[in-house]
Symmetry: C2
Subunit: 491 residues, 2 copies
Amino acid sequence: MTMSVWDELSQRITDLDTLSSIGGLLGWDQQVMMPSGSAGGRAQQREFIGRLYHEQATSTRLGELIEAVAALPHPTLEQQAAVRNLRRTYRRATCVPPKLASRMAQANASGVAAWVEAKKERQFRLFAESLQTNVDLARERAQAIDSSRHPYNVLLEDYDPGTTVEDLRRMFGALQEGLAEIRQQALARKGPSPFTEYCDPAKQLALHHDVMRAVGYDTTRGVLNESEHPFSCRVGSQDVRIATHVHAQDLLSGLAATMHELGHALYEQGLPEGQGGSAVYSATSTGMHESQSRLWENMIGRSRGFYQWLQPVFAQHFPDQAFDPENVYRSSNRITSGSIRIFAEEVSYNLHIILRFEIEVALLERRITVEEVPGEWARLSEQFLGVRPKDDAEGVLQDAHWAGGAFGYFPSYTLGNLYAASIFAQLRECYPDLDRHLEKGNFSIILNFLRERIHRQGHLFETPELLEKSVGHRDHVHDLLDYLRERYTTV
Amino acid sequence: MTMSVWDELSQRITDLDTLSSIGGLLGWDQQVMMPSGSAGGRAQQREFIGRLYHEQATSTRLGELIEAVAALPHPTLEQQAAVRNLRRTYRRATCVPPKLASRMAQANASGVAAWVEAKKERQFRLFAESLQTNVDLARERAQAIDSSRHPYNVLLEDYDPGTTVEDLRRMFGALQEGLAEIRQQALARKGPSPFTEYCDPAKQLALHHDVMRAVGYDTTRGVLNESEHPFSCRVGSQDVRIATHVHAQDLLSGLAATMHELGHALYEQGLPEGQGGSAVYSATSTGMHESQSRLWENMIGRSRGFYQWLQPVFAQHFPDQAFDPENVYRSSNRITSGSIRIFAEEVSYNLHIILRFEIEVALLERRITVEEVPGEWARLSEQFLGVRPKDDAEGVLQDAHWAGGAFGYFPSYTLGNLYAASIFAQLRECYPDLDRHLEKGNFSIILNFLRERIHRQGHLFETPELLEKSVGHRDHVHDLLDYLRERYTTV
């Protein structure tokens, strides 16, 4: 009995998925439990799994199978999706000459080392040469993959296939203006002081468990743990974990981290299992993944209704402490100031991203030189956020992405916010009394909406098409500005 | 530049070791953290890693390299050891026809299922057919590996290379008589009642941490965690973990579990890293591994000096509770009764093992039939332990080893006790004031002794030769009986 090409292709994808989930466990354990002395050994284990993955992901037979399935007379929707997704990833894995791949690996590693040093010394010039090398290699890689397209579009496909630099320019341009306006209005608004009561960390974790279960996280298929940096991780098709970080005097920041990772994890828990594995049933893009985390973290997790629901849950864990939902709502939806992205609230956050997008596109188009980056950064920061970074460490050196060669990643964050805003807007159209549902903790209507319209669709369609199918033809920029205006400028 | 055959062989062993350490993490995580719903996925991941390991461990090139290193004109000690160890494991991996291997895998899996059912129903007859199949397949496998030798000797090499059924008969015969005598004398002795005070489990774990650090466990290269069943696990060359289980009203049983696993883990932490990897630097045998756990658990961990040292440590964690070292010493070195191996103290424990050894050798030699096993078990149990099992669940069905096809494993437990006794006896000859050292918590002299004489030697020599080098030509049976006589018959 011979295996059909589709069966054989699926089997190979299953093997790749198994390797990838094993890599997931190696990564999870490294941050959650591994003893410090084992860092070298862990790197070797991950490198080993990575090498096996690369061998299997670039095998000649895999390429043949993809084309054989593409040539089937009546391909199913799943087969069409698998071919589209695999052609892209296979091409990206095989078109980069091994020498270039190895130069990139070295440059990215030494780029991170130079960045760490430069950030410590707060001097961009110590990182400039590495940045130049990373930009040049990213261009070279884009060229090797497809020399006929804009290099940024090629790189963008690592994260957000289906979106182009033209889409981003159009959306980000309109968004920037609207955000600046909201920011100005919101800054004028005064609100209560932030919630900074001491809350026992162990009890905070117990509270997070309650929230996760209420929201619909399946605890038989995941665990919550602690780590220095919050993250979520797929350790198996039935094992999607969350690591969070709690702060004794900042309950809301830890809760936001858990809600954010929960959004990612719910997406992964909601992906179906089926033939074709991750070639059919995986997240459609980094932006779509981010939309799930932002929706739960911000749209739901900082809403009035959510805080109202949270009050009695909070009281169970902290019976002696006060938690006024209205105050918490108003204080946690307030414009921040400063030049650091990760401390920014939703409005400024997107301006941070647009700033980075402008600069990385200009670098890849060679419209600006590496030496001009700090000046450009200061100029845009002043223009968008009204603040010039104090020094390079608070400016261009604040993020690690470029040091590791990740160009085209930043837009995903704002794409996530844009998509989340449209999903949320559609959700409110379906449930005009959404806030009442939130007050009652009736989160299942939200999760069911996401499950049905997004999670269960896997990667059958590219992000823009899936969004069109799931929330209709919506203007994401309009939806995001609307949402932010309501949150930040009305009481 | 061509690679030397030794370098190439070492590289392949390194890869096998990496796969095996990844398997270690998959196993560790499964028992310590994995959510219940992921059991199927984890089985798939482990099967995948197992398949890769088997492919690489049976590759033609590996066989060629072993023989090429064997043919080197002036092999080093490491090369000689690698050739000896690898020839054995390679032969065992390649000589079993795939069909037989797959029949065994199936029979062992259904054997375990039948055993679970039979144990629940307390009826041996529900397991008899599976046991017969497992015995037949074990014989068949032994035949395939080396038809010229006693099948039990072939199987024994899975666990204790360098030891034969003749060695075991000689040692176990002498041991059994001595143990019976000690048992009789010790039963007459009355002692204080066992230590059963309630001790907060979290504080017990903190106590275990203190003990581990005092003994010399390197916490930068391992972690302590909890699981249903205690075990230790190599997750990397610099990452050897311990999972223990504490009981609120039985502090000493949890502590014994930690000390036991600590002994295993200290051995693994003490193995050198070097060219040839595990082919040179791994434990010499299951028995030797067990000697390390038993030494720390029993010889050290139940000694008068240890309990004296423990008293102030205990008081720090449990300031309101009494801990009288002499009472604890006497109550924790007392003969137990009953027919269950895992609840037996050191004297009876070895009698349990000898009973199993007698029966499994008789089964493999076809001197008895499967149907005769329960009767033979009852007869030997009465003879050795003065008790007939109440039913099959408390008799032949109490252990899972045979259900999974592990014949030749049981002797390792008693070999471990025999080796530990000789190591302990030699240690006391080197340090006649050993008990004073223990009282002061001067455990480093013991760990250094083990590191130097055993751990650092890896698998350069087979167990009997290594013991001869490390503790001299000692009579293990005499040493074990001497030790047990002192512990159990004098006050």
